[in-house]
Amino acid sequence: MGKQATEMLKGTLEGIVLALLSGRAAYGYEITAWLRDQGFTDIAEGTIYALLIRAEQRGLVDVEKVPSEKGPPRKVYTLNARGQEYLNEFWRTWSFLSERLEQLREGGR
């Protein structure tokens, strides 16, 4: 993944993670692993962790602490109603942005 892709991804990462959580509950490490599988290889575990802390503080996700065999308990995240609303807004913004960019590429205005 190039530098430009990393930069572009930053603004959309929150939406990507929330979209992922709308499908199923997950803990931080699972989310990072999934992103890496999808080719987002430069994503740091810490970045996702910080993002999840923020989503939790803003009340977009519900959190359940689940004991793990090794290490501290895992925080499992699920998208709640408020998070779903936020995600809908993200997709509207994304549609707007991608349509405009596509128009630019085609030379229109």
Binding site: G28, Y29, T32, D42, I43, A44, E45, G46, T47, Y49, A50, L51, I53, R54, Q57, S68, K70, G71, P72, R74
Partner: protein, 119 residues
């Protein structure tokens, strides 16, 4: 120690000591990373809010312990640019520091200047 000047509350002190102990238990590389991150976070992060500070370092300990358990290499935890990670992480916690005060001062100054302009 200088941290005690910042963390005044006794309960906070206890929790801060628990955090130090958790860091001490980490494998070498992770422990070094924890100390380096802590130095940066305590210099630039919430300096006048003990509970925010404790929440911050406790979350940091959680992340590093989880990473050890999952076998995540250090570079994959902090990323190519550790400063970027630290800054993003720090934003989750309230409280003031000299840098935040300066940012507020700049924003306020521009607000005032804008009001002058419209007069």
């Amino acid at each position: 120690m200088w941290i005690e000047k910042i963390v005044g509350d006794l309960g906070d002190k206890k929790r801060y000591r628990e955090y130090r102990e958790r860091v001490r238990q980490l494998p070498d590389g992770y422990r070094e990373a924890a100390l380096a991150l802590e130095r940066y976070l305590l210099h630039l992060g919430p300096s006048n809010d003990g509970s925010s500070l404790i929440a911050m370092v406790t979350d940091l300990a959680d992340l590093l312990e989880q990473s050890v358990a999952a076998g995540t290499p250090l570079r994959d935890v902090v990323g190519a640019d550790p400063v970027e990670f630290a800054e993003e992480f720090m934003q989750n916690y309230g409280g003031g520091s000299w840098i935040r005060k300066e940012r507020d001062r700049l924003a306020t100054a521009i607000d005032r200047a804008e009001a002058e302009e419209r007069r």
